[in-house]
């Protein structure tokens, strides 16, 4: 009785076993990496806003403190979106006839708030509080990047859980002195994070890793 399979099928079977493994592994690998791309996380994607507000101009050029507009960032969960009145504090006189600012003046006349598009949209099953981060030494630019250089506003981090955990597992790599929280250029030269970080963690009484990475710390 002749052989059913030709000798070359031995090679073929080995190659096909290996290539199936490679292809399946590759597809899984690609899928996990796609989830990390800005296409999914929306990082670096500027959002269309009712008014083309430029942080670069207001923060970078004019030097207005973050808290002039985001006034609850130190005390509440939400940093605070400024009211139309906050815009009008200056724009009652500056660019008072600019067509770009007409939506603001309309909101001022009618009392209807502007509907800004949310840039950092965390999933609803995440509990996030700005004030605790600010008071424990996490600076604005650590999460929001160089907002003073952004003509339009975009997020620079993935906002994915692995990114949150990067800091919750090792806060000493990211915390900074409390008087530097609102500084955009950070880390400053001469600041040794490896030496100062652990000291600050102790000084701020930042909880241990068990608490920081417990499910209910962020999901509640």
């Amino acid at each position: 009785m002749p052989q059913i399979f030709h000798r070359s099928t031995n090679t073929l079977s080995r190659v096909s076993i290996v290539s199936v493994l490679v292809i399946v592994g590759g597809v899984i690998g690609i899928l996990t990496q796609i989830n990390r791309t800005p296409y999914i996380s929306q990082a670096y994607m500027a959002k269309q806003q009712p008014v083309q507000f430029s942080h670069k101009h207001h923060v970078g050029d004019d030097g207005i403190d973050c808290r002039y507009c985001h006034q609850t960032v130190e005390t509440q969960a939400s940093a605070g979106i400024p009211s139309t009145k906050t815009c009008m504090n200056c724009h009652s006189q500056l660019f008072a006839t600019s067509p770009y600012l007409e939506p603001i003046r309309e909101s001022w006349r009618t009392g209807k708030p502007l509907l800004w598009t949310r840039v950092h949209d965390l999933p609803d099953f995440v509990y996030f509080n700005h004030s605790i981060h600010v008071s424990k030494g996490v600076g604005c630019s650590t999460c929001h990047g160089r907002i003073d250089l952004m003509p339009q506003t975009w997020q620079v981090q993935s906002l994915q859980m692995e990114w949150c955990l990067e800091c919750h597992r090792a806060p000493e790599k990211f915390v900074r002195p409390k008087d530097k929280i609102f500084e955009m250029e950070w880390p400053a030269s001469g600041f040794d994070q490896a030496v100062e970080g652990p000291k600050l963690v102790k000084e701020y009484k930042i909880q241990n890793q068990n608490v920081m990475t417990s499910c209910s710390t962020c999901h509640r």
């Binding site: 989830n35 939400s78 979106i81 906050t86 006189q93 609803d124």
Partner: protein, 206 residues
């Protein structure tokens, strides 16, 4: 089972349908997992979400502010003194709030030449002019509360307490702007003079 059809046929068909349905559902949920729906966008009220913008009734007082604001506001009215003792912490808070909310126009020195003024906003008076140096602290409190001229009210940005603290810091600016080197405590004087020597160009004591 009691119908005329053979029971086995009817018995078999249902689970097959169920299995296919379950498989479809499973594959659907696998693909839908990447769509950022469901749990990501829950129908609950969060800050700034539509429906969460409830306007408080007229005369509502935010929790924790009544006990502070009423007596403080009364004590300060039409007096040159402050309603509470001025400590280093009070002045530090005043400086902090001043630099955030006031400095854009009034400048960190209080001379009324802040960045917003340089951009074309109406120039506010300098704190160092005679009229304002002689004004009671409650005057600054009043302007912060109600606004004045081109300046809007800052009662939405500065709590009652903070307004008094900012007024105290305005006093600090006024005093320091007209201070002589003899006014500085001897222990601190060396520090100033050292800084002065380090920067030969800025030879003034200011």
């Amino acid at each position: 089972m009691s119908k005329n059809k053979p029971p086995m046929t009817g018995f078999r068909r249902a689970p097959l349908k169920k299995t296919i349905g379950a498989l479809l559902l499973a594959s659907l949920s696998l693909t839908a997992g990447a769509c950022r729906q469901d749990m990501h966008d829950q129908p609950k009220l969060k800050t700034y979400r539509e429906g969460a913008d409830r306007v408080p009734p007229e005369g509502a007082v935010a929790r924790g502010t009544l006990a502070v604001s009423a007596p403080v506001a009364e004590a300060g009215a039409a007096k040159s003194e402050f309603p509470f003792a001025i400590t280093a912490e009070v002045l530090a808070r005043g400086e902090n709030r001043f630099n955030i909310n006031c400095a854009p126009c009034h400048s960190k020195l209080g001379d009324g030449n802040g960045m917003i003024v340089q951009r074309g906003f109406k120039r506010p008076p300098s704190y160092h002019e005679e009229r304002l140096r002689n004004s009671p602290a409650s005057y600054f409190y009043d302007v912060m509360t109600n606004g004045f001229g081109a300046m809007a009210s800052y009662s939405d940005k500065l709590s009652v307490e903070d307004r008094w603290k900012v007024a105290a810091y305005i006093r600090v600016l006024q005093v320091s702007h007209n201070a002589k080197i003899e006014d500085v405590p001897a222990a601190e004087r060396a520090k100033l003079e050292a800084a002065d020597a380090a920067a030969p160009q800025g030879g003034q004591t200011q």
